[in-house]
């Protein structure tokens, strides 16, 4: 059953600040970064910031970990006169790709016309890499934190190990994800890592949480990214060709649940990305199949989780993600499904999923730096993380 609101809304504006290595955006304030990203997205769309009348966040409107975004503060700062919608998806980065879906819900319900989704992070006070070990213990995380799994990479290394055990996946697969993603970042002026990555360098990288090494971990960066969603009708008056929201879904199954903050997932959910139920729904609502997707912007906080998403989104069979990536399938040059043509979170910048949405928009506009020829459909994902995880399919207008 194809989604009733298919192609009725579109992303019309994208805006980003510079990207900085962790902590280096200081002395800019977090709201300053948010404001700059929103103003750039407005300029890109060709609208006035005063026309924004809705906010659709994810991650509970958190800005990284520790900072928060507040619509009233942003209205006061930017001179936005009135909003008809301000809401957030729950939990963390898993919702990233569905923030424009929340915006679409607001627009189709008649609550707002120009809805901004934004993420910003600064890591001066608390780096993400050790975030789970930093807080005071709660009754719930007292069953996780004492193990010394202090950061997301440590947690996901346990999932990667299970995938290797069940399916024979090797570190060569994770290496290929890191190397291919780096190759895509080489020609991008804003990418943090722009030097070619060799296999020798990859295998010399220190093991932070075996089976994952430092180069399997994404960057820790500062910056902000905003996107603006409006109705496809209004999009005609904007500067850029609209990136039509062809399908968007968030959620997931209880068997995944809190995922690596829980570790109770039964097989085969444990060694997965948790995305399969969302992927199935996304394909059903959009009426497309994996072979129709021209470019996949997969949430790459850790290389191994790209392998598992390729399986869950049906680009290969379950358990075959390793050999699939090792065949060169995810390369921009010569791959059957180019993945993270923007250099991803591993090599360009980590803004908790937003750079994937920006790249999806540029790919269907036809303006990406590593443009996939004839790109009609782009997939972007948010998570694996605690539910929700999310997926977004954009279509060329």
């Amino acid at each position: 059953m194809v989604w009733v609101n298919q192609d009725k809304t579109a992303i019309v504006g994208i805006g980003a600040t510079d990207y900085w290595v962790r902590g280096q955006s200081h002395p800019r304030t977090i709201n300053e970064l948010v404001g700059e990203a929103i103003l750039r997205a407005c300029a890109d769309a060709g609208i006035q910031v005063q026309q924004i009348d809705g906010f659709a966040y994810y991650s509970g409107a958190g800005a990284g970990y520790g900072d928060r975004m507040d619509t009233a503060s942003l209205m006061e700062m930017l001179g936005i006169p009135e909003v008809g919608f301000t809401a957030a998806l729950t939990s963390g980065g898993g919702g990233a790709a569905a923030a424009p879906g929340l915006a679409a819900a607001a627009i189709m319900n008649g609550d707002a016309n120009y809805v901004v989704s934004v993420m910003a992070l600064q890591q001066r006070k608390q780096r993400l890499g050790t975030v789970f070990g930093a807080g005071p213990p709660t009754p719930e995380n007292s069953f996780l934190q004492p193990s010394g799994l202090v950061g997301p990479g440590h947690l996901m290394s346990v999932l990667a190990r299970r995938h290797m055990h069940l399916y024979g996946t090797t570190r060569d697969a994770f290496a290929e994800v890191a190397i291919a993603t780096r190759e895509h970042a080489l020609n991008r002026p804003k990418a943090i890592r722009r030097k070619p990555l060799t296999r020798e360098e990859y295998f010399a990288s220190p093991m932070l949480a075996d089976p994952l090494c430092r180069l399997d971990f994404c960057l820790e960066t500062d910056g902000a990214v905003a996107v603006i969603t409006t109705s496809t009708e209004r999009a005609r008056d904007c500067l850029q060709p609209p990136a039509l929201i062809h399908g968007v879904a968030h959620g997931g199954r209880a068997e995944w649940g809190r995922a690596f903050a829980w570790m109770g997932m039964p097989d085969p959910h444990f060694a997965s990305s948790g995305h399969k139920p969302v992927a199935d729904r996304l394909y059903a609502m959009s009426g497309v199949s994996p072979k129709d997707i021209d470019v996949a912007l997969l949430y790459d906080h850790f290389s191994a989780m790209v392998v598992m998403q390729l399986e869950d989104y049906g680009f290969c069979e379950k358990g075959e993600g390793g050999p699939f990536v090792q065949s060169g399938a995810i390369r921009f040059k010569g791959g059957s499904i180019p993945v993270n043509t923007h250099g991803g979170q591993l090599s360009e910048a980590y803004i908790i999923g937003m750079t994937h949405i920006v790249e999806a928009v540029e790919q269907v506009r036809g303006t990406a730096i590593n443009q996939v020829p004839g790109c009609e459909l782009a997939l972007a994902t948010g998570g694996p993380a605690s539910l929700p995880v999310s997926g977004l399919i954009l279509r060329k207008a």
Partner: protein, 143 residues
């Protein structure tokens, strides 16, 4: 290069907190008794302990004494100290499937062996690590 011995997280660094649903687990650990929350109606195990059985929504909860043995479901080998003021050491966070409590897992540390020798499916038994505020954490060693 081999990793060598798997160390425990120093107990004086480990803090927990409890609520009325998790405290029986930690009180049992103080007595060196490994338990898990089991539904008093349908027998389903759930960890961490929570106010309702997710299978039948009952709040009746039992705390059976488990054999204290289990198997490694998955694990990581970590080499960096989680504490900025403490020198790096090797430790093995592990997810353990508990004998006698189908579906219940503990996320804990393995010790008493070299990190290099840990494998999925390895048989382990519980051991006890005193932590802050008089609590005791169940950890595991081969056996």
């Amino acid at each position: 290069m081999p990793y060598g011995a798997a160390h425990l997280i120093p107990g004086e660094r480990v803090r927990i907190s409890t609520d009325s649903w998790t405290e029986p687990f930690w009180q049992a650990a103080k007595e060196h008794r490994l338990t898990a929350a089991q539904c008093g109606e349908c027998g389903h195990f759930r960890m961490p302990p929570s106010p309702f059985c997710p299978k039948c929504q009952s709040q009746q909860t039992e705390w059976p004494t488990l054999p204290g043995t289990g198997a490694v479901f998955s694990f990581a080998i970590c080499t960096k100290s989680p504490y900025p003021d403490l020198a790096d050491f090797v430790y093995v966070p592990a997810v353990i499937e508990l004998d006698g409590a189908p579906g219940a897992r503990l996320v804990t540390n393995l010790h008493g062996c070299n990190a290099d020798d840990v494998s999925i499916g390895m048989r382990v038994r519980v051991d006890w690590n005193p932590i802050r505020d008089g609590w005791v954490m169940p950890v595991f060693r081969p056996g």
